[in-house]
């Protein structure tokens, strides 16, 4: 693992979330059935660094973000802010926590209340965290400053607008501005651009990157688009069915994926270089199967039912993290050289 210049701001260890299944027909007979949405996830976010979390839909990425933001209570594991274990539910301590850790939602169309103006959203965020200043002037300055940061200028033009009067990119900027109002150290961005138009995605991503640099934020960038992780993140973690399967420096992970799942993911991504129908049919032959049920996840490696390299051992034993190279690890028995990488921090 690359030596870190900074210490982690936010860390998670053994993060686990099981959603109890309720009222689901015959499952009643089996008490305690649960969706194993997140199992034993360990990650750490560092100042001035972007960590990408990629994985297919339903793999538990958003749940990780919510657990980190303490919007949901975790089933197990620890979340440490500046090395201190924090568990908050609400009230003042929650406020204090979210002053440091802010979440940006996937859908800018849904994450702003349609009945409130931009001014309301931002003012509230400032007020709640005590950054609104004491006079109307100070508030106005703070607002202008915030909008300036997300490059919505001139500020007056946007303050009075309702969300529906803004374009998707502008809305996402407002959402980011709201998160910044708390002056956080960690930004959890849950697929911040997947709902945005291609032509404006880049702007928002670039904005996030700039902010990271200016404010030296720790950013968790959640996406299902592994290509954007390559461009945007310093480090990339790959998630499959609630578990992290691979992690490491973005370029390494994307260019030489180690875990069979990461490989599948990368092979599946559209590749304009393979122009023309001639080379098209390559991966298609076998039905690649579907993600497993999270209520009864497969034993051993969760990917084994779909894995072309699955071994006997994969069906029974959970692979620990194995170091693949200095910049990369994978939770796969293929890399078992007898020396599992120290589990825990990536």
């Amino acid at each position: 693992m690359a030596p870190e210049q900074t210490t982690a701001v936010l860390e998670a260890e053994g993060l686990t979330k099981h959603f109890p299944v309720r009222g689901a027909g015959r499952d009643v007979l089996r008490r305690g059935a649960a969706v194993h949405a997140v199992d034993d996830v360990a990650l750490s976010l560092h100042r001035g660094r972007v960590t990408a979390l990629v994985g297919e839909s339903g793999s538990g990425k958003s749940t990780v973000a919510r657990l980190l933001a303490q919007l949901q209570t975790r089933t197990g594991g620890a979340v440490r802010l500046h090395g201190k274990d924090v568990t908050v539910h609400g009230g003042r301590r929650f406020r204090a926590y979210c002053r440091s850790v802010q979440l940006i939602f996937q859908d800018p169309f849904a994450s702003l209340n349609p009945v409130h103006t931009v001014r309301y959203h931002l003012t509230r965020a400032l007020r709640v965290h005590g950054h609104a200043g004491r006079t109307a002037r100070e508030l106005e300055e703070a607002l202008t400053d915030l909008l300036g940061r997300v490059r919505l200028t001139p500020a007056e033009q946007y303050l009075a607008k309702f969300p529906h009067e803004l374009s998707g990119g502008q809305r996402q900027r407002v959402a980011i501005a709201r998160a910044l109002a708390a002056r956080p150290e960690v930004l959890l961005a849950d697929e911040p651009v997947s709902m945005l138009d291609v032509s404006i995605r880049l702007g928002v991503l670039n904005l996030l990157r700039d902010l990271k640099e200016q404010l030296s934020l720790a950013v968790l960038y959640i996406t299902h688009d592994i290509a954007s992780a390559r461009y945007f993140a310093d480090e990339t973690l790959v998630m499959y069915a609630g578990r992290l399967v691979e992690g490491g420096e973005s370029e390494t992970v994307t260019q030489s994926p180690a875990h069979p799942y990461t490989r599948l993911l990368i092979d599946s991504a559209p590749d304009p270089e393979r122009i023309g129908s001639a080379q098209r049919a390559e991966l298609d032959e076998d039905d690649l199967g579907e993600p497993p049920s999270l209520v009864t996840p497969p034993a051993g490696c969760r990917f084994h039912p779909r894995c072309p390299h699955a071994m006997e051992r994969c069906t029974t034993e959970l692979p620990p993290r194995f170091e693949v190279s200095g910049k990369q690890w994978a939770a796969c028995w293929l890399y078992d050289n007898g020396s599992p990488a120290p589990a825990g921090e990536s």
Binding site: E56, S57, S167, G168, G169, Q170, D197, V198, S199, I200, R201, L202, G203, N206, H224, D225, I226, A227, S228, R230, Y231, F232, T254, Q255, L264, L265, I266, D267, S268, A269, P270, D271, P272, E273, R274, I275, G276, S277, R280, A281, E282, L283, D284, D287, L288, E290
Partner: protein, 327 residues
């Protein structure tokens, strides 16, 4: 095969009408995969629904023609068909696969019913058992176990549903399959599976595909030809490879520059400045000029026509206008 001429589609009529598609000329050749790309709101779906006359109110087809040439038959103008003729024409000649398969399948009917009723509607003489056999065949065609025929849509995964829709599209062996963002809701693995399946089926049945997406990298890989739409118009239409290597229109270039590439060297991503145009207040001249880094004198004043620069390539941009296309 299918020839759109001067097709215009509006939402609403009169003063308040939104001209979502304007004077589009587009040809879909037999057996070809034509990709239609462009950012959100550029009118891709409107075009697809408009030409099949499936646009919900307040959409209206304001003018133009949609000529369908079946082999060895008189061309028919889809826009001039009566309701009954249109019904007969639909699905038998052009089938459609929409973006959200969950919403394309009726949640209260079994897959079997939904597969067989299209056969029954067009071939009323077939026996139920025969129709069921055909439905089974379609399911195996798209690689879904036959026993899933008895399922309801919500019992299938998203990928399965989309495959059911593709199977259904092929029920009557149509000449043309229109696909409006058929895989955007799916993750990449599933997306690739479905597209590969589609490619194979196309080779087997030889239908033409109009493939709509905003993901240019996907089109570059899968389609023969790509048309780029902006603000309700086609701004460029080229073979995939040409377009990918050498986009002519600045907008096409911008689109390509918005996608981070997974492989190869890290390219600098440029993106497109500005925001998509408001259809109600289109800029005069070239609709792209306010966002165009290369805009120059005529762009703000006059609209560039879609003109051929080479035999296979059309572009609507003053940068590439030959003197005789300038009016």
């Amino acid at each position: 095969m299918l020839e759109l001429k001067d097709l215009s589609v509006d939402y609403g009529v009169g003063e308040s009408a939104v001209h979502a598609v304007r004077n589009v000329d587009l040809t879909l050749h037999r057996g070809e995969v034509l990709g239609l790309a462009g950012e959100s709101g550029s009118g891709k779906s409107t075009l697809a629904y408009g030409m099949t006359r499936l646009l919900a109110p307040p959409g209206v087809v304001a003018g133009g023609s949609v000529l369908y040439n079946a082999a060895g038959e008189e061309p028919v103008d889809v826009l001039r068909l009566t309701d009954a003729e249109l019904r007969r024409f639909r699905w038998a000649q052009t089938a459609i696969v929409f973006q959200g398969a969950m919403n394309s399948l009726n949640p209260v009917h079994r897959i079997r019913t939904q597969l067989t009723d299209v056969i029954r509607a067009h071939e009323p003489d077939t026996r139920p058992a025969e129709r069921l056999d055909r439905a089974r065949e379609l399911m195996s065609l798209v690689g879904i176990p036959e026993d899933r025929l008895e399922s309801y849509p919500h019992q299938l995964s998203g990928g399965m549903r989309q495959r059911v829709m593709i199977g259904m599209a092929l029920a009557l062996r149509p000449q043309i399959v229109v696909m409006d963002e058929p895989t955007t809701a799916l993750d990449v693995v599933m997306q690739r599976q479905i597209l590969s399946r589609l490619v194979k089926l196309r080779e087997r049945f030889d239908f033409a595909v109009l493939f709509i997406t905003h993901d240019l990298s996907l089109l570059a890989e899968f389609s023969d030809r790509i048309a780029i739409m902006y603000g309700g118009r086609i701004v460029e239409s080229s073979p995939s490879a040409d377009l990918y290597r050498d986009p002519l229109h600045p907008y096409s270039r911008g689109l390509l520059g918005s996608f981070p590439a997974l492989r190869g060297a890290r390219r600098e991503l440029t993106g497109i400045p500005g925001s998509p145009p408001d259809l109600r207040a289109m800029p005069a001249g070239c609709t792209f000029h306010p966002r165009c880094p290369l805009a120059f004198d005529p762009c703000a004043r006059r609209r560039p026509p879609l003109a051929a620069t080479s035999p296979a390539r059309d572009v609507a941009c003053w940068l590439h206008a030959t003197p005789d296309t300038e009016d």
